[in-house]
């Protein structure tokens, strides 16, 4: 098997180009690899098309830092605070919006990534009917169901195959095989649809740990391009079994990003003036330790024996 373990800086530098379409997170609120968000900002990526149903405040940070030209998704804001101030400024200031938005609902985006993962030319949905999303996103087409009653309308969703998917998992081996547990949003579809998959694992474990429970594998290692180990990469979002949500951090970000100057000062303090995620965790100090889940609620083992 091919060794795929690299550090985060190398993974981002090697595999994410200006102008790429990128899924980062896609679990909605949990397991968003903010460490990768910060690294994209530090490395000065430009012109990204961020694809996700909801990636909490990550997308707002990337927009504010000037990395984004396009958003393909259902919701951009701050789940704790509400509005995303950088997202608002991109639309409301100046003569024209500085970013383009391709509006989807969560389910229609889910079907777009599933169509991408399955290599289908499109998927029909009964959602989006009656919504002005059909007006603001011309990629979605109103059609007639060829198998239905006459004039039964449906909406056709074209496939999305992102250039890169950056996904958090609880554990992986050095070959990219991995386990993810808890709700998974659209990460399985994103990983299967994307050209390049970068995994950010909380822990690197022996290959036998992963192969002991193949039903828990999110995506097999041969579909993974690079794997990197970063503890607490998801902070301030939660990760099942490892980290609770740092709600105060989201609220502080919301308050400080209310003005452009406030956002820039937040960005210097928490991203630009910080060398890497290790230094970020050091700066968090005792607060990160307090967020670690210390309880134990292990699943029952499953027997895979063959004889």
């Amino acid at each position: 098997m091919q060794e795929k373990l690299v550090d985060l800086k190398t993974a981002i530098a090697s595999h994410v180009r200006d102008g790429d379409s990128v899924v980062l997170g896609a679990c909605l609120e949990p397991e968003i690899p903010f460490a990768a968000t910060h690294e994209l900002i530090r490395q000065g990526r430009r012109g990204l098309n961020m694809i996700a149903p909801i990636s909490d405040a990550s997308t707002d940070m990337l927009i504010g830092a000037g990395c984004v030209s396009e958003v393909t998704g259902a919701w951009v804001g701050n789940v704790s605070g509400g509005l995303g101030h950088n997202y608002r400024r991109a639309f409301e200031e100046g003569d024209a919006p500085t970013i383009r938005v391709n509006d989807y609902s969560n389910f229609s985006l889910g079907m777009a990534l599933l169509a991408g993962a399955y290599g289908m030319p499109y998927l029909p949905v009964r959602s989006i009917l009656g919504s002005d999303i059909l007006k603001s996103n011309s990629a979605l087409k109103l059609a007639k169901n060829p198998f239905g009653d006459e004039n039964e309308p449906i909406v056709l969703v074209p496939p999305l195959q992102p250039d890169v998917a950056i996904i958090s998992v609880q554990r992986a081996d050095r070959y990219g095989n991995n386990h993810h547990w808890g709700s998974s949003g659209l990460i399985a579809e994103a990983a299967a649809a994307a050209e390049i998959v970068i995994l950010i694992a909380e822990e690197i474990v022996a290959p036998t740990v992963i192969s002991s429970d193949p039903s828990r594998v999110l995506v097999p290692g041969y579909l993974v391009t690079a794997v990197t180990q970063v503890s607490a990469a998801v902070h301030p979002s939660p990760m099942t079994g490892y980290w609770r949500r740092d709600n105060q951090f989201f609220n502080d970000y919301h308050a400080r990003s209310r003005t452009q100057e406030g956002f820039e000062s937040w960005l210097r303090e928490w991203v630009l003036d910080i060398e890497d995620h290790g230094a970020y965790c050091e700066k968090l100090g005792a607060s990160i330790a307090a967020l670690r889940i210390k309880g134990e609620a292990f699943s029952a083992p499953a027997n895979y024996a063959s004889v």
Binding site: L83, F91, S105, S183, T240
Partner: protein, 251 residues
């Protein structure tokens, strides 16, 4: 009269909309508490769906900031992806769902996307999330908003989540069944009326009157012929709510 807050009345009014055994898209904050109250009172077999990819029988007992937080994962009936949970809407299995909104109009259309022209909006709101999916494909939609003329408007600038569109048969002609069954505000309950489906004043919360509610509604609000006063929370309903809301967040 029992002592309760307006939020507690809204939660209990929302809980009364859930029937036993129903599959319900729950959402966060007020509706998730309403789901818990319904389970503890008249709907012990209701099932809660969360679009992250979570299905629960028992609501989580520890504090949740978001539906993806660890207490909502532990002890779930199912943790899976977004698609397997939301596909149950399209399969026609979901009885009801709760959504909120920045604007709602007389036909129950909800806007969470753009104030003004979507090409150059005055305000860019976070967007749809899963609300259009729930609005289009659940059998009943329940909308929770605060009651003022900025939110309850004649016509929304942008239909993120469809209600009855232009009224009458418009929703059916668009290919949709279901539709809003109730709008729960801090002053009243509005329900669609007759074949036109315009939202009418159906229930007034104790302590409020018709004129006040009309003044705070952005269209010429009609009264339902069956209009009632919202029954105050019963002792059992309040006890169930206090079991869930141990810290008194909603008091």
């Amino acid at each position: 009269m029992a002592d309760y807050s307006v939020q507690e009345l809204m939660i209990i009014a929302a809980a009364r909309e859930i029937a036993d055994g129903e599959l319900v898209f729950v959402g966060m904050r007020l509706p998730i508490t309403a789901f818990g109250v319904a389970r503890l009172t008249h709907a012990p077999n209701a099932v809660g769906l969360f679009e992250d990819g979570i299905v629960r029988y028992e609501p989580a007992t520890d504090m949740l900031y978001t539906m993806g937080d660890p207490p909502n994962q532990q002890g779930a009936a199912w943790t899976t992806g977004l698609n397997p949970v939301m596909a149950q809407l399209q399969r026609g299995r979901v009885d009801a769902g709760f959504i909120g909104g920045a604007e709602i109009d007389r036909y129950g259309n909800v806007n969470t996307s753009y104030i003004g022209d979507f090409k150059k909006p005055k305000v860019k709101l976070p967007g749809s999330g899963g609300a259009p999916d729930i609005a289009a494909m659940s059998k009943r939609l329940m909308v929770i908003v605060n009651h003022d003329t900025r939110r309850l408007v004649e016509k929304v600038d942008y239909v993120t989540s469809p209600g009855y569109l232009d009224g009458g048969d418009a929703r059916a002609e668009a290919g949709l069944s279901g539709g809003p069954s109730v709008v729960i505000t801090d002053l009243a309950l509005l329900r669609p009326h007759g074949d036109d489906h315009e939202l009418h004043l159906a229930s007034i919360h104790p302590g409020h009157d018709v004129n006040e509610i009309k003044e705070k509604t952005g269209w010429e609000l009609q009264l339902s012929p069956d209009m009632v006063e919202t029954p105050p929370p019963t002792t059992d309903e309040l006890a169930a709510l206090h079991t869930i809301d141990k810290d008194g967040f909603w008091r």
